[in-house]
């Protein structure tokens, strides 16, 4: 019975992350994008905490707290302030329409299920389904980075991708803490990098639209 419950809840939470990834795909305003990302990180934190409970691995609670505090609160708030300060809270344009993007995203989910499930036939179903969901989140994050031209959305896409990686790492039972801390740490560094870049891009271009940079490609004269 507990076994069944453990499986169902982790399934639900990991599935919730995939759903949040889909929600990220169709947001067309910066602030709602940030809110959905906070939701994404919140579901990740719950999912990691549940894994800590199921696997009886207390160190995973630390990862959950990091995800909650850092990614669900600090980063969205900080990005929100940056966006306000730079005055770029207008509509985001996407490269491809919402419809095709969502369809393509569904294809990616099907792909990751088709890839992961046959590979781990005799592993415990918990790890297997978790990994399939995690790969979906990673691929959806990639899709978001490709389908958006705006630097803020690309950053959000990248961070949702990293959330998928944390999900995968916690799903792998007993994986040493080294990796989880490093993932959190790398996001911290990545965020600093991004912050600096947003600032510099603003300074030089007066817009955070990456499309504006295309004309400065070094090869042209």
């Amino acid at each position: 019975m507990t076994r069944g419950l453990a499986f169902d809840v982790s399934h639900l939470l990991a599935g919730g992350m995939v759903l949040a990834s889909f929600m990220l795909l169709y947001q067309d305003r910066v602030f709602s994008l940030l809110r959905v990302f906070a939701l994404h990180a919140l579901v990740l934190a719950l999912s990691v905490a549940w894994q800590a409970n199921v696997q009886a691995a207390p160190h995973l609670y630390l990862t959950a707290v990091i995800a909650l505090a850092f990614k669900a609160i600090v980063i969205p708030v900080a990005l929100h302030r940056i966006v306000v300060r730079l005055g770029i809270h207008r509509q985001l344009e996407t490269v491809v329409g919402v419809g095709p993007t969502i369809m393509f995203g569904m294809g990616l989910v099907a792909l990751s299920i088709a890839v992961i499930l046959p590979v781990l036939p005799d592993a415990d179903p918990l790890a297997r389904e978790d990994l399939a969901f995690a790969l979906s989140v990673v691929l959806l994050g990639l899709l978001m980075m490709i389908s958006r031209r705006n630097a803020v959305s690309q950053v959000i896409g990248f961070m949702s991708l990293e959330n998928g990686l944390v999900l995968a790492a916690t799903g792998a039972k007993g994986m040493p803490l080294v990796v989880e801390i490093s993932v959190a740490f790398s996001i911290l560094i990545a965020f600093i990098v991004i912050g600096i870049f947003l600032f510099r891009i603003r300074e030089r271009f007066d817009t955070v639209d990456v499309g504006a940079m295309d004309s400065f490609r070094g090869e042209r004269r």
Partner: protein
């Protein structure tokens, strides 16, 4: 043994310490010398490590494979710091770098050395991943340091593509752990190279295959293999030239080293797919694609960046073919390419400072206006194009001849790519080095020692390789397996 352990720690501690000191120290002269000094100490430690070898621990490992690359990395790191000292002085003079950014630059240089040493020394696949991520982030910051439109775009592109690559590699790393866990149990052992390699035969092959695909795509992005190479030319062209030299000469090698380690795991597992054909295909595509791209370059640094893609393709091809001879050739080519390409970037750095431009069309007659520099560049390009009797000729000859015996068709494609690249390089070299000098030309206050030291080594290796080195490389080639 304690002595050896200390040296091993020192390889990491010296750059880390130097980075924190350099971040605080003002002034050009002191910091440039300190940077050189720290690099020299690291090189000495690396050389000592060849004699005294520490016992592999849970986190760090020194074996025959990585010691070669550690010595190469610290050597090029040292010579580049010497080149950087004269290069940066000029950048300060013309105001492209402010003193605050100089401090940042030197600190980042040492952080990069730390990250590369850690990636090579790591015995833990997670730790290695962290080190490569750190190296990526450092170089992103360095590429964007001039803060021009082009530099920012290049850095952003590099950051996005690099982090996607890194993310895929982490997914692969997690899958390797999952493959290892049923055999080796939970915890750190299941992530250590030493343990993984001996137990690899029992891993689930399907999981290992999937992991390798992610790892090859992920770390392959960092190696600059086509079609994942898009960041590489921009990053090389827009950053400071010493960073271009370190990127091409060292960081690409480090990423390839990671791929090689995982390839060894797959080779050790009988049920897993052969990693060779995947690597051969990516290598050939990269070499061929980059050779064609060489023709249309207008920017001199960008051109040599494409040449780096070509050579990484050749090296990946050689390791993909596998077997003692091809592995030997691949290792030799790795070393020769590092030395030659960084020497070329040293020359190109001085050239672009003397002429005030990186556009190939605006540079001509270098052998007339700057004889030493011009002939140095000619020698470098002759070497990189694979003319006998220099080192690259020998390693390319070995790659081609060893693959001709087994896969003549693939070898022909490779030779074709080499010839096409050869033509492009000489076409451009002719315009740049000979003819009437045009445009502005300032005298260069530079030390040519690093450049000629590298080229001298490459020339010497082409004529005669010492028996010790041959034996060492042969041993590593055996280790790498089929």
């Amino acid at each position: 043994m304690i002595f050896a352990d200390l040296i091993q720690i020192g390889l990491l501690a010296v750059p880390a310490l130097a980075a924190s000191v350099l971040a605080l120290l003002p002034g050009y002269l002191v910091t440039a010398r300190l940077n050189m000094g720290a690099a020299a100490v690291t090189l000495t430690l690396a050389l000592l490590l060849t004699v005294a070898r520490p016992v592999p621990g849970l986190y760090l490992l020194v074996d025959d494979l990585n010691i070669v690359l550690i010595v190469l990395t610290t050597f090029v790191g040292f010579t580049t710091s010497a080149f950087s000292a004269s290069y940066i002085a000029h950048e300060l003079e013309i105001g492209r770098l402010t003193p605050a950014y100089l401090r940042f630059y030197h600190a980042m240089y040492q952080v990069l050395m730390f990250a590369m040493n850690l990636a090579l020394l790591a015995n833990n696949i997670g730790l290695m991943w962290v080190a490569i991520e750190l190296a990526t982030l450092t170089t992103v910051l360095m590429v964007g340091i001039y803060r021009t439109h082009e530099a920012l775009e290049a850095a952003w592109k590099y950051f996005i593509l690099g982090s996607v690559g890194i993310a895929l590699a982490l997914f692969g790393t997690i899958l390797v752990y999952m493959a290892a866990r049923p055999i080796m149990g939970q915890g750190l052992d299941a992530m250590a190279w030493t343990g993984l390699l001996s137990a690899a035969s029992g891993f689930d092959p399907a999981l290992l295959n999937l992991a390798f695909v992610f790892l090859l795509l992920g770390y392959g992005t960092k190696v600059g293999l086509a079609p994942l190479h898009a960041w590489l030319p921009d990053a090389h062209a827009e950053g400071p030239t010493p960073i271009s030299a370190v990127l091409s000469g060292l960081l690409l090698n480090v990423a390839l080293y990671a791929v090689l380690r995982f390839k060894m795991l797959l080779t050790a597992n009988a049920g897993a797919l052969a990693p060779g054909p995947l690597m051969v295909t990516m290598g050939l595509v990269s070499a061929m694609f980059a050779s064609f791209m060489l023709y249309r370059r207008r920017d001199i640094k960008r051109m040599f960046a494409y040449s780096s893609i070509e050579h990484m393709g050749i090296i990946t091809f050689a390791f993909g073919m596998g077997g003692p001879l091809a592995n030997f050739a691949g290792l030799l080519h790795m070393a020769m390419h590092s030395l030659t390409k960084s020497a070329i970037f040293f020359a190109v750095g001085h050239v672009s400072q003397a002429k005030g431009t990186q556009k190939i069309a605006d540079i001509s007659g270098l052998t007339e206006s700057h004889p030493v520099l011009g002939w140095g560049l000619v020698l470098g390009v002759v070497a990189i194009a694979g003319m006998p009797p220099l080192g690259i000729f020998m390693s390319e000859f070995l790659v081609v001849s060893s693959s001709f015996a087994r896969q003549p068709l693939l070898a022909i494609i490779l030779v074709l790519a080499l010839l096409i690249g050869f033509g492009a390089l000489f076409l451009r070299l002719h315009g740049v080095a000979f003819g009437q000098p045009v445009g502005k030309s300032e005298p260069v206050k530079a030390s040519y020692v690093p450049m000629f030291a590298h080229l001298g080594l490459v020339a010497a290796a082409g004529v005669y390789l010492p028996g010790v080195v041959v034996a060492w490389f042969r041993n590593v080639a055996e280790l790498l397996g089929g």
